[in-house]
């Protein structure tokens, strides 16, 4: 798994690639919580390059969303890969996360 973060004016863009499983999800979750703790709680998660996401990745996204919302922010998903869409649907989270097929639209939504 690769994670890169780019801080923009109002939004932090977090790009994730590769496998998000129980082995890598703690780093994924840690990166998101670190942003939120530094008052960067408006987050766009770009997930086009995620080849696999397990329930551990979902757990990280849900805990980050809760933390971001309690700080007045949000975690929004941009360009999720087919596999990410599938697992988000399977977990019944399509109405919990705002999901955008276009990255510019996701960033501009804040």
């Amino acid at each position: 798994m690769e994670i890169s973060t780019k801080d923009m004016k109002r939004v932090s863009l977090v790009t994730v690639k590769g496998r998000v499983d129980s082995s890598t999800a703690p780093d994924f979750e840690k990166a998101l919580h670190a942003l939120i703790q530094s008052n960067r709680s408006q987050i766009v998660l770009e997930l086009a390059g995620v080849e696999y996401m397990s329930s551990a990745g979902i757990r990280g996204m849900v805990s980050s969303l809760k933390a971001a919302k309690s700080g007045g922010g949000d975690v929004r998903l941009a360009r999720p890969s087919q596999r990410v869409k599938e697992v988000v649907e399977l977990a019944g989270l399509t109405s919990i996360f705002a999901i955008y097929d276009d990255l510019t639209e996701a960033v501009g939504s804040f």
Partner: protein, 140 residues
């Protein structure tokens, strides 16, 4: 019938190797990409549960996987460990569709396994430990 076995350390670092093993076996039986992915996902969730709950982080123990393609094409996967006994009846159903506040952060692994596979059976005995058997039937 095709039968393949793999034994790996019960640590999260083994998950990518397990996915590769399941993928190779299922593809050898001409399963399509979606089917292969779903089986890999169910096995990943099952093995993650063993690593996290049966053995615990960094705990000792191995996981033995046996993957059989039966003559009619069904895929039968057995996952064996010697960790703490697992009782699926104590795992609550996740509240799918609940709002964010009442959403637990965990508890989805077993739910995913049951959604993705046609049959999921747990057995435990003192001598043999935990054996999870999952079946994915060949679609006609």
């Amino acid at each position: 019938m095709i039968k393949r076995c793999l034994t790996v350390p019960g640590r999260f670092e083994s998950l990518a190797q397990i996915a590769e093993f399941i993928g190779e076996t299922a593809r050898a039986a001409d399963w399509n990409d979606d089917e292969v992915y779903h089986v890999q996902m169910a096995v990943d969730e099952a093995c993650s549960n063993v690593m996290e709950h049966a053995y615990g982080p960094g705990g000792p123990g191995e996981i033995d996987l046996t993957c059989c393609i039966q003559d009619q094409g069904d895929l039968v996967i057995s996952i064996h460990d010697n960790g703490m006994p697992f009782d699926p009846s104590v795992v609550p159903e996740p509240p799918i569709g609940a709002d964010l506040e009442s959403l637990p952060e965990g508890g989805l692994g077993l739910y995913f396994m049951r959604k993705l596979m046609d049959q999921v059976t747990f057995q435990f005995d003192e001598r043999d430990g935990n054996v999870l058997t999952m079946v994915k039937r060949r679609r006609q």
